[in-house]
Subunit: 124 residues, 6 copies
């Protein structure tokens, strides 16, 4: 069990240590167990799996969250995480623009607005 | 204008010539202009852009369609197209499984069922 | 109360008497009150209101159901109802194609497939 | 007709008199009839029905709005209403956390953020 | 780790042993690890938690899947599971009908059609 | 190619020159090509087509965006555009209210809130 948590936390740190810590802290008061489930399952069990490289995983997540359009805060987190992993800004804007085809222009426009906001304070 | 259509058709052929032809033929009777718009815009203008490699584009599409859960036929088309481009079955099932985190288990289960169906008749 | 039900039923008959009767009959066994609520509220209270003509109301419904992509049976019912009210096939395919812009190509493609199916057996 | 409105208003008052009044007042200027339809149909016709206890109805609503992710203001209203009916904070956070399984972690995280906000000013 | 899997499997058996086994078997070929993650996380980690009784958890799930409208097969599974836990048919149809308010009539109509199908072969 | 862009820009100007210019300017920094694709495809290729009058097109868009509930900023833009084309406030609130039937009350309430905000500063 420790392993799943440690593996998840290590991945979360690699994606974005600061944002990860903030998300877990925000859960502490309202649903502390959920912070653990998020680290263990989402990061430790699923995203840390081999078989698909981490950059492609993040691009897939950015595409999916752009298409869904219901989680703008999480979309910004994953755009930042993708940059941290070495994805280029162009790779991200291309994946977001492509969602105009699969989920419509409003979804893509909101995704690009999220990217613009993240890029404004990102170093790479 | 010819260029956009030709570029889109060339990409569609590369993804899956047979399925592409079937989709365009199905539109012929009900909305012939839409077949042209699909080829020109979706494939010629957007998916054929440089800046993101085609395999990653298809994985992003498979992830997004899995997350949305509203277009199972198109999801199957893109799983097949991704295989045709050289994505491995594992890369695709990993991208789909990851959607359990971002869109829930039912979305991922339906995505895996689509993959299973496509894999059953695919050569690679 | 009678008024709301009668007004709703009259509208449902005008949209498509046969399909309306079939939908209400299907509810009879599992949730009979819901048949009444559907007639009273959806048709009697809302769709029968003045202020927006009935043809535009049906086109708005066809557009919305195409965009949502979660209710293909109801989409076919409303495409048929719109034809019955005098909407042309072109008006309907244009409204559906437009959803490619606002909800993506898969939504529009599925909407056009629904239209094609309805048109195949419709008289106008 | 009076009955439906009175029954709906009585239920709305029981859920949250203050928030209910605010919602109806906000509609007054832009769509006054809609305030009446909301009270009559949503509360008087549907939610006031016997056959499912009111606490379970509110938990079902909180779960559904968390899963949909498109109506954060209404989600907060129903979390507050559920508390007013005697649901515990734990029952609500459990229902919201469970949506991670059925609609993904972002939906659950946004639901928990809504709960946290409501809990901060709630008395029970 | 064994514990999470065993706890999840015990819950799945209680919900519907036959359907549970069928779902896990269907995953075996395409994504065997996902069967384990489903049992461990969805059932072992989340749905088996104390703090909200199991019947209410199933009603919340039925409501959410009805509202989402993207997973009709899973909706039928959970309607059946809810019956197995002792929910009455009325409790389920009321929860589904209520979704007309929060997600629209098409969602509720499709949910009632799913319920009708499940009820036709259920013993209670 | 010039034609598509010019036709799209002319339509965008007719819908709302000021908002159109602001949207295109916002894209300039993050994804300049997307501004062009938006004008060419969404406005030049699709919305400018004959076969459905422009007022009905805008009402269909307002209905669809209300139903989807994921793009409040774009919904406000299209409510404003519809007013600019000569749609009455009543036609718009009726189309939005009708979405309570097809996508639920929260979607309609959020759509009416968007309309109220636009109406507050609109001249017609």
């Amino acid at each position: 069990m420790e392993d799943r948590y440690q593996r998840g936390l290590a991945l979360l740190d690699r994606l974005d240590r600061e944002q990860g810590a903030r998300i877990l802290a925000a859960l502490e008061e309202v649903a502390p167990d959920f912070a653990r489930l998020l680290v263990e399952f989402a990061f430790g069990d699923v995203c840390a799996r081999p078989g698909l490289d981490l950059k492609t995983r993040e691009i897939a997540t950015v595409a999916a969250l752009t298409a869904l359009g219901t989680a703008p805060a999480q979309l910004r987190v994953h755009i930042k995480a993708a940059l941290n992993l070495g994805c280029s800004r162009t790779e991200l804007t291309e994946a977001i623009m492509q969602m105009a085809v699969y989920a419509g222009f409003p979804a893509a426009l909101n995704g690009l607005a999220a990217a613009k906001e993240v890029f404004a304070t990102a170093k790479n």
